[in-house]
């Protein structure tokens, strides 16, 4: 049984839900939510059924329809079903389901409840599209759709100026990346004559030089797309701002899906990158990881901390791909999806309880008020920090191991970031959950309803076991065939220490250092002690290294200035001088000319005679 239609159903159910909600059930909140949630839950169930039936390695790997074919442009609409996409499918629908269910509780009071679920479903559809795409163009299409649905979700509270601006910023920044992505696709297509991943891979395998001189450039351009979606330096600025959206959205975008799309795409198209391109990718990933971790240390908004943490982890993943270890990147992506979704939903639970207060310095002592949230959050934190045997340890270790093998500087950065991660996460936990109440809102806080806590519990379980359920082997088998991959629970538990002990131990050491630093600084802090200690650096970190300001001063200014200049020329040179000028000159000429008609009869007679004379001269005079 191949169940070939199942993937189609999985893909289109959310779209159907979005359409039905938009067209018919806008007013009926309950039906809307039910539709949207059941679409993704059914999707999850069907995915499980499909994997059960076909395992992660179906016989038929592709099903496709013809979407557009014009001569050499053969654009299919197809689904590629292999381990990579199926695992990703599982993650997206699984984590997505949890977030959808959670949203029911979180968004319950919002008046645009139906719209929210419609957007959420649209987003799910787009994301599934990226996951299952079997060709570049379809991936680009879903890519764009993800962009727009994230625009709709981030700007969900569009009446708030900051939300509307953040949505715009996210979309446009993504578009900058997509610009490169499109060009990359064009280069690849022009050189290899196909868009289909399978055919491209086969083509490149046949003739590795097929991309010619543009190979590195093409790869890097495709990577640009990933930079936008996965918020890699220097296109990372949109992600923290995107926190303006409702928290489930942040969870969905930052945890499992949108930002992961970039890494997923890199893994999917791993075959086109040349070593040079990979090097650039790795360094960009490393820089992002470091930079974001540093910034996260000095943020006070709970969601922003998580946002920068996401950035930092994405940096890890991208670095992994750059280090020619896409399986490690995907592994981390998967585990990260679990614990980061968990963290965001936990943060959402906190925010919900705190009546939309997001400053951690106004929280404190929440562990008693919200035990479920606290403990699940703690699990997430530990997983993120890389505590053995939680999922984060294994995936992060895989990346550190890859770095150990390939590049010492990146390894050092990686370990440093790991320490920073532990530091800022525990800073968050110490300040927000432990200690005394820092504001009276904490007094009113209480645990969230079951629709919100159950997703937390489920995600917490996955955050714990995610590292040892065979994900790594699965990705490894596909993306890194021939390499050794651990099988069996026990083997997986100890694999890191056998495979690359230095990396594993460094990771654990980093955790220790980070925890210790956080404990010393924040366990009993009333206010942040860091600014006093490191001064300027702290300010730089808090102000996100002034990247927004930098863009404001460069990219945006350049565009605005160009637009102003062009507009000026358009208005005055073309519109006024050339167009209306010539009209004006004509009319002026007419006005002058008509004074020949002086009204004087004698002048008329004279002119007539003059005319005759001129004609006589020219016709006969020569």
């Amino acid at each position: 049984m191949h169940l070939q239609t199942l993937p189609w159903i999985i893909l289109f159910l959310p779209l159907l839900a979005a359409v039905v909600i938009t067209l018919f059930t806008q007013r009926d909140r309950k039906t809307s939510a039910t539709l949207s949630i059941s679409a993704i839950v059914i999707g999850f169930v069907l995915t499980v059924i499909f994997i059960k039936a076909n395992s992660f390695n179906p016989e038929v790997k592709e099903v496709s329809l013809n979407w557009l074919d014009i001569g050499p442009l053969q654009a299919e609409f197809g689904l590629r079903l292999d381990a990579l996409s199926l695992m990703m499918l599982l993650v997206v629908t699984g984590v997505g389901s949890a977030i959808h269910i959670y949203s029911w509780g979180y968004m319950h009071e919002d008046r645009c409840f139906s719209r929210f679920f419609a957007s959420l479903s649209l987003f799910t559809f787009s994301m599934l599209g990226i996951v299952m795409a079997n060709n570049f163009l379809q991936m680009f299409i879903s890519w764009e759709l993800v962009g727009v649905s994230s625009y709709l979700l981030i700007g969900f509270w569009y009446e708030k100026a900051s939300a509307a601006d953040a949505a715009k910023k996210a979309f446009i920044t993504n578009r900058l990346g997509d610009f490169g992505f499109m060009l990359g696709i064009l280069i690849v297509w022009a050189a290899l004559g196909s868009l289909n991943f399978g055919k491209l891979e086969a083509g490149l395998a046949d003739n590795p030089a097929a991309l010619g001189s543009l190979a590195t450039l093409g790869g890097l351009l495709v990577f640009c797309g990933a930079m936008g979606k996965s918020a890699q330096f220097p296109l990372h600025v949109w992600l923290p701002d995107a926190m303006e959206g409702p928290t489930p959205v942040s969870a969905l975008i930052h945890a499992a899906t949108m930002v992961a799309a970039g890494v997923y795409m890199l893994s999917r198209t791993f075959f086109i990158y040349t070593p040079e391109a990979l090097q650039v990718i790795a360094w960009i990933g490393g820089c992002t990881a470091l930079l974001a971790a540093l910034v996260a240390v000095q943020q006070n908004d709970i969601k922003r901390i998580l946002a920068y943490s996401t950035l930092s982890q994405l940096g890890y993943m991208v670095m992994a791909v750059g280090l020619a270890a896409p399986e490690a990147g995907m592994f981390h992506l998967t585990t990260h999806a679990f614990f980061k979704a968990l963290l965001f939903l936990g943060a959402g639970s906190v925010i919900h309880a705190m009546h939309h207060e997001q400053d951690i310095w106004r929280m404190g002592g929440l562990c008693k008020k919200m035990p479920v949230t606290y403990w699940t959050f703690m699990v997430g934190t530990m997983a993120l920090a890389g505590v053995w045997p939680l999922s984060g340890f294994f995936s992060k270790d895989a990346i550190l191991a890859a770095a150990w093998h390939h590049s010492m500087p990146l390894f050092i950065i990686g370990v440093g970031v790991a320490a920073l991660t532990t530091f800022y996460m525990f800073r968050l936990v110490f300040v927000a959950f432990l200690g005394g109440e820092r504001s009276h809102e904490v007094g009113h806080a209480h645990e969230s309803p079951w629709v919100m806590t159950w997703p937390l519990r489920i995600l917490a379980v996955f955050s714990i076991v995610g590292g040892v359920i065979g994900v790594e082997a699965l990705f490894g088998g596909m993306l890194h065939p021939g390499g050794e991959h651990p099988h069996g629970l026990a083997a997986q538990l100890v694999y890191p220490f056998k495979h690359a002990p230095v990396a594993a131990l460094s990771g654990l050491a980093a955790f220790g250092i980070g925890l210790f630093a956080a404990w010393t600084l924040y366990a009993r802090a009333k206010e942040d002690p860091l600014p006093a200690r490191i001064g300027t650096l702290s300010r730089w970190m808090r102000d996100r290294f002034y990247f927004d300001e930098l863009y404001e001063a460069t990219v945006i200014k350049v565009h605005d200035a160009t637009a102003a200049v062009v507009d000026w020329f358009d208005r005055w040179l073309i519109g006024f001088a050339a167009v209306r000028g010539s009209a004006g000159a004509t009319s002026l000429f007419g006005n002058v000319l008509r004074f020949i008609q002086s009204g004087s009869l004698q002048a008329y007679a004279f002119l007539l005679v003059l005319g005759v004379a001129v004609i006589l001269f020219f016709v006969l005079g020569r």
Partner: protein, 529 residues
């Protein structure tokens, strides 16, 4: 009688009929206008559905009808469709109906308005259905003149008068240059016929002299170019559209403007292939003017209609780029964008017209937060903006992406392409989102408390119809592309059968010749598969 004659004749007939309806019978007038355009749109849908099965004549056209008109000059009323104009006729008919629907707020001189609207609709459809150069031009002008008068009489804004004069004179210059070019083509081809198929056949056997080609082609290029607001001849468009009544802007920006592009594809390329090769590199750079220049200008607009007008000019750049690529993908993509942009432009102008009617202004600094008050119209505007910045799912994307692939295939255009993609993906997004941000997002001001959404089904219908068309062709572009492809291929073959004759225009021409050859062989190779 061909179904095409009914499609274009119904609005014209209704216009004549309306002239005899007493002016107090407003309801009757509206009914006649709606009925005629609706019938014409339905017939166009029928035409579209029946197209693959209909009989083809020797020249590859279907649903043809030919009536001799002026024998001594070889003018005949000759209508017919192939893949290239089929979609345009469909799009024109649907937009005409939508425009008629959007005219409910006209409350002075309805009679004249509806007569002109119907004449315009009939003229537009006639221009696209005609296979005779004379009628092709004739119908276009028939549609153009009502545009001017409608802007003058029912237009709005302080600069209405300037807008009317500017658009009239500017477009007339373009139309006349094109006319002179067409007549010259007729004269110098020596075929003594205005029939496009006959002319094409004649020229395939007796190609035009290089001198003639180089004389006529620029005339058509710039004549048609002015009509399509090719940079730098675009400044009529934003102001004109900004001042035009809703229906007029919808019909003109959506449909009538495509006339010049259609003319380039149908007439200029196949009949003057050598000159086409020589000029295309130049055209490609000009179309960057549209995409970037007008995109940047759009970013600076303070009035929503001006912004949309500039963006519509910018979109024309993609169509030109598709044409300039001179290959199957590019030309097919260009036709796709033409159709898609038709729906889109009509939609955006319809929506902005609605907003203006409700708020009395389109100054973006005055507006804001309207999505709360106008959930339907606002959502439609968001979708339109998204379609405008090339979001997949809308027909524009299918077209633009084909244009990109087509233009990229032509190696001479790659530098241009880099900028074009920038314009499409980044600049387009910037100004479109800026408009959404300014008009729909943000807090809603108290003064807009009375603004009401389109609740009535009739009010929603035009927008829903246009959106549905955009989405239908966006999801299933093959509905169009499969029909366009064979005929686009014929044109591309005719163009590429000739060698370029003025390499002076581009240094890269020598390189690109190989590319052409490669592209051609690839074309034919895939054709073989």
């Amino acid at each position: 009688m061909s179904i095409l004659t009914s499609i274009l004749g119904l609005p014209l007939l209704a216009a004549v009929g309306l002239a005899f309806v007493p002016r107090d019978y407003r309801f009757v007038m509206r009914l006649v206008a709606l009925g005629a355009t609706a019938a014409s749109a339905l017939l166009a849908v029928l035409l579209f559905l029946k197209f693959p099965g209909a009989g083809v004549n020797a020249d590859g056209y279907r649903f043809v009808q030919q009536i001799p008109w002026v024998e001594s000059l070889g003018i005949s009323y000759y209508v017919g469709v192939d893949g290239i104009n089929l979609g345009l006729v469909l799009m024109g008919a649907i937009v005409a109906f939508a425009a008629a629907c959007c005219s409910w707020n006209i409350n002075m001189r309805e009679k004249e308005f509806y007569v002109l609207l119907l004449v315009m609709s009939g003229g537009i459809l006639g221009a696209f259905a005609s296979l005779d150069l004379f009628f092709f031009y004739f119908f276009h002008e028939l549609a153009l003149i009502p545009t001017f008068i409608m802007i003058g009489v029912w237009g709005h804004g302080e600069r209405k008068n300037l807008a009317t004069f500017q658009i009239t004179l500017y477009l007339s210059i373009g139309a006349l240059i094109a006319l002179v070019g067409l007549i010259l083509l007729y004269v110098q081809s020596g075929a003594n016929t205005f029939s496009i198929p006959a002319l094409t056949r004649h020229i395939q056997e007796n190609p035009m002299a290089p001198g003639s080609q180089n004389l006529i082609f620029p005339m058509l290029l710039f004549g048609f170019g002015i009509l399509v607001s090719l940079w730098p001849f675009h400044s009529w468009a934003p102001l004109g559209y900004g001042s035009a009544p809703t229906a007029t802007a919808m019909l003109h920006a959506g449909v009538l403007k495509k006339f010049g592009l259609y003319g380039l594809i149908r007439v200029a390329l196949p009949l003057m292939p050598e000159a086409a090769h020589g000029w295309m590199q130049f055209l490609a750079w000009l179309c960057l003017g549209n995409i970037l220049w007008c995109g940047f200008t759009a970013m600076r607009q303070r009035d929503l209609n001006l912004l949309i007008g500039n963006s519509s000019v910018a979109h024309m750049g993609f169509i030109f780029l598709g044409i300039a690529s001179l290959n199957l993908i590019g030309v097919t993509g260009a036709v796709l964008v033409m159709i898609a942009h038709g729906f889109l432009a009509a939609l955006t102008f319809g929506l902005s017209g609605y907003i203006r009617q409700q708020t009395g202004t389109l100054e973006m600094s005055e507006l804001g937060g309207l999505l709360r008050k106008l959930p339907f119209v606002g959502a439609a505007l968001v979708m339109a903006a998204m379609a405008g910045c090339g979001l997949p799912g809308f027909a524009n994307f299918a077209g633009e992406v084909s244009v990109f692939f087509g233009a990229w295939q032509n190696e001479a255009l790659r530098v241009v392409m880099v900028f074009a993609v920038w314009g499409a993906l980044v600049i387009g997004a910037v100004y479109m989102l800026r408009a959404v941000r300014a008009v729909l997002h943000g807090p809603v001001a108290d003064k807009w408390n009375d603004v009401s959404d389109a609740t009535n089904a009739w009010r929603k219908l035009p927008f829903a119809l246009l959106l549905a068309s955009l989405l239908a062709f966006g999801f299933f572009p093959r509905l169009l592309s499969e029909k366009i492809k064979p005929d686009a291929e014929k044109i591309v073959m005719m163009v590429n059968a000739a060698r370029p004759l003025t390499p002076a225009l581009s240094a890269a021409e020598a390189d690109s010749e190989e590319a052409h050859a490669a592209a051609r062989s690839r074309d034919t190779a895939t054709e073989g598969n």
